[in-house]
Amino acid sequence: MHWLARQVLRLAVVLFCVTLLTFLIVNILPGDVATAILGGLATPEDLAGLRADLGLDRPMLVRYFDWLGSALSGDLGRSHRSGEPVAQAIADRLPVSLQLMIMAQVIAIGIAVPAALLSVRRPGGLFDRLSASTAFGFLATPSFMLGILLIYLFSVTLDLLPATGFSPMSEGLWANLESMILPALSLGLIEWTVLMRVLRSDLLTTLKEDFILLARAKGLPPWRVLLQHALRPSSFTLITVIGLNIGGLIGGAVIVEQIFALPGVGRLLLGGIFNRDLILVQGTVSFIAAGFVLVNFLVDMLYAVLDPRVRHVRFRS
């Protein structure tokens, strides 16, 4: 079978299993939804009525396939708290979460790549040791802690940036960035450490290759050898790790959106969890997992674009 077709099939299977698992967690686990919604004082008749409304009286698998059918057509049901369509709720909040994660990723890559390049100029040198120690420190800092520290430093002590709250683009680019910079830093300042370590170690391996010697023998200055010859062949693991770490980033985004009161998908999910809003949680978790799986799929494709050897193997066979 064609490589691409096989990958797409695999993607479909994983997505199916992921949504099913979400459904099972949300539905099997103890805690009666109807009671949770109506409170302990509700009469049995009320509860039964609500269960029927929610379709909870039908067999689980039937409900799952119903849900899956509508989900495929873009209908994730309605929140039974607000009555809002879940898909709409997610769509409204998605831009904020995306902006947060993209900014965090840009910060992370923006620090990690130069730091790794400078580190391998002299392995074991002052800069290398300094950046390794810094990375080690940040690695021990959870994002919720970093968020608080950043608020303490930039909002409380220095009074430079707003502590919480979100300004949409419509209030001006600067206002928007001001409200997003601390949240993005809370994630990016942690993420870079992992990326830097991966890239550094791959760079060191690449720098031992003969083609690097050949590049030097051509008379290329060290920084051009690094940037033009070493960086790209060293970035494959980095890209994979960026893809895998998006999972961590999504988790971090849930926390950071909560700390900084950003109206993103993570906060939507938390709200749903606190309110026992079953349909909302089911939809949001499935959406997040599907997005994560998709991104990793795309990263895999990117890999093929970047590495001609992989492209060769995959698209010619």
Binding site: P123, L207, E209, D210, F211, L213, L214, A215, R216, A217, K218, G219, L220, P221, Q228, H229, R232, P233, L306, D307, P308, R309, H312
Partner: protein
Amino acid sequence: MSGAVSGAVSGGPLLSVRDARVGFGTVRGLLRAVDGVSFDLEAGRTLGIVGESGSGKSVLVRSLIGLVGSGSGAIVGGEVRLDGQDVRGLSAKNFRQLLGRDIGIVFQDPMTSLNPVMKIGRQIGEGLRLNRGLNATAAARRAVELLVEVGIPEPERRASQYPHELSGGMRQRVAIAIAIACEPKLLIADEPTTALDVTVQRQILDLLQREQRQRGMAMILITHDLGVAAGRADDIMVMYAGRAVEMAATREIFRGPRMPYTEALLRSLPRLSDPTHTRLSAIPGRPPDLARRGTGCSFAPRCTYRSERCEAEEPVLSREGGRGFACFHPLNASAGTSA
């Protein structure tokens, strides 16, 4: 010993190496990979460097052109002159310029010596743009011409391919194109055929020789096979355990080696007169541990001619009749021009 290796031409040798040393700091102490090697190379001539694996051939030539450096924790010593200019005294920038313009190098394994994610045309043109000031179009055009020259069919198509799309022999041709692109004065070929199919080895060696003649380049041809050096090198330097143990014109070496190690190398050559399935006589024993060098001749443990003196004292490279060797009991005393 300068006169030994090359007939002196006015203006001095193109490359002159004095007392080259390379040490690596290892956990077991200082590993002397190259231990005081000196030689000269005239413009347009070919020097073959021959020796077993691990004898320091690659480290020697790489150190000459600054490619073993501080990065690997190496300690490099000695004097290197190209065209009379002290190479080691140059600023980093000037040194890179000299490297890019005047020296080309071909590595052993074309699978690893080409950048896997850069198109071939660009890899060839890169040096031209940097060292010869060509613009992108001119460099690309020249790259295609070079591909033609090294015998690659469909050069335009190949130029826009990646290394993995070519066979090993083709890749080595590309590597040669890269090495000669900037019209260097010196071409270094470090076992250019070891990693290749037997069928293409000869073609690559012929290509190297042709380019060298046409361009009047000097060449250092590294090999562990005296047979490869036989028809192609003017002079041969035999290395053992980081030292030059014999230096002479190629025909002298084949007429009569003076150093027992050279003799052993010669004996391990397959001869045309041998029946097809004769086993090659590999040299028994192993080379010494370079980090634990004892006293005496480093070949002594494997030498059939050794005496007590060989184990106590170290032979230095001495000259006799226009050739050099390091041995207390040289062979073929009559073969030398003087006793």
